[in-house]
Symmetry: C2
């Protein structure tokens, strides 16, 4: 039988309306790297695979090997045309009805105060700033589609969020 001990929680997939602002956000604001992408011409979609990696391999084969073997990969699915379809109403964040279910992804940072200051400078949208509510050690921002991203302190660098 297959060896469960070798299983990897490889990626999380979310659909995005327009890859341009999404790729800009995940790369420039959150600092992920685009490992690779894959166009499916017949089904009219493109997949983008991002992760926190030191370096993106040069060959497509090595990019694919990396994208599908490590944990912590974010897959963005772009169904061609949504970016310019005036009738497209956008995707559900998962955090309100109808469509409640998926909650968020979470990025652990080294210094949450400074990270949130930077997000504010970059005009990132906040669902919850550090000072809001009772928990002053977590923040929630949104990506260009409105998906929630929790920001916490990585306990390697500071106090765990709970």
């Amino acid at each position: 039988m297959s060896n469960i001990a070798k299983y990897v929680f490889n990626h999380t997939m979310i659909r995005v309306k327009d890859p341009k602002p999404s790729l800009k956000f995940y790369q420039d604001v959150l600092g992920m790297k685009l490992i690779t992408s894959s166009v499916n011409e017949s089904a009219n979609f493109t997949l983008y695979f991002l992760a926190y990696v030191d370096k993106v391999p040069e060959t497509k084969e090595e990019q694919m090997k990396l994208a599908f073997s490590i944990p912590g990969v974010l897959e963005l699915t772009h169904n061609h045309g949504t970016e310019s379809d005036s009738k497209f109403e956008g995707y559900a964040s998962g955090n309100k009805e109808p469509g409640r279910g998926f909650g968020h992804i979470c990025v652990a940072v080294d210094d949450i105060e400074k990270a949130c200051e930077r997000f504010e400078q970059l005009d990132v949208n906040f669902i919850k700033k550090l000072k809001d509510g009772k928990m002053h050690n977590i923040a929630f921002i949104t990506d260009p589609d409105g998906y929630w991203i929790e920001i916490i302190t990585n306990p390697i660098y500071g106090k765990a969020p709970i």
Copy 2:
């Protein structure tokens, strides 16, 4: 400023109706380990953190440190009462309207043929079996809430899915 190079895509959160079948599924079927859980009595919810780790630390502090520092963590949120509320209609998978947006999580395995055989033996629900459709190197199963889980071959052990 904060050091973006130290950021980690730590976890993905989904809401679950009943933690008992969900924890059984992610542990017994998919082989993740429950690192820690956290009850919020005032807000009536419990969080469960699962991941593929060799060993779960013994102390709560070490469990929290692990759960919030590594990539590839799955957070299950259980809002108390949904498991016995006959009016609760369940959570949206994200893959159909209303509520389309979130797509799936993906587990990379060592031997996809044998992994899928085992899932069938365990009566796991399939959205797409290996033989279905055009792509015979990916499968989709669902968890107890109906969230989609893509199963691929980890390219360390075989051919990359695309």
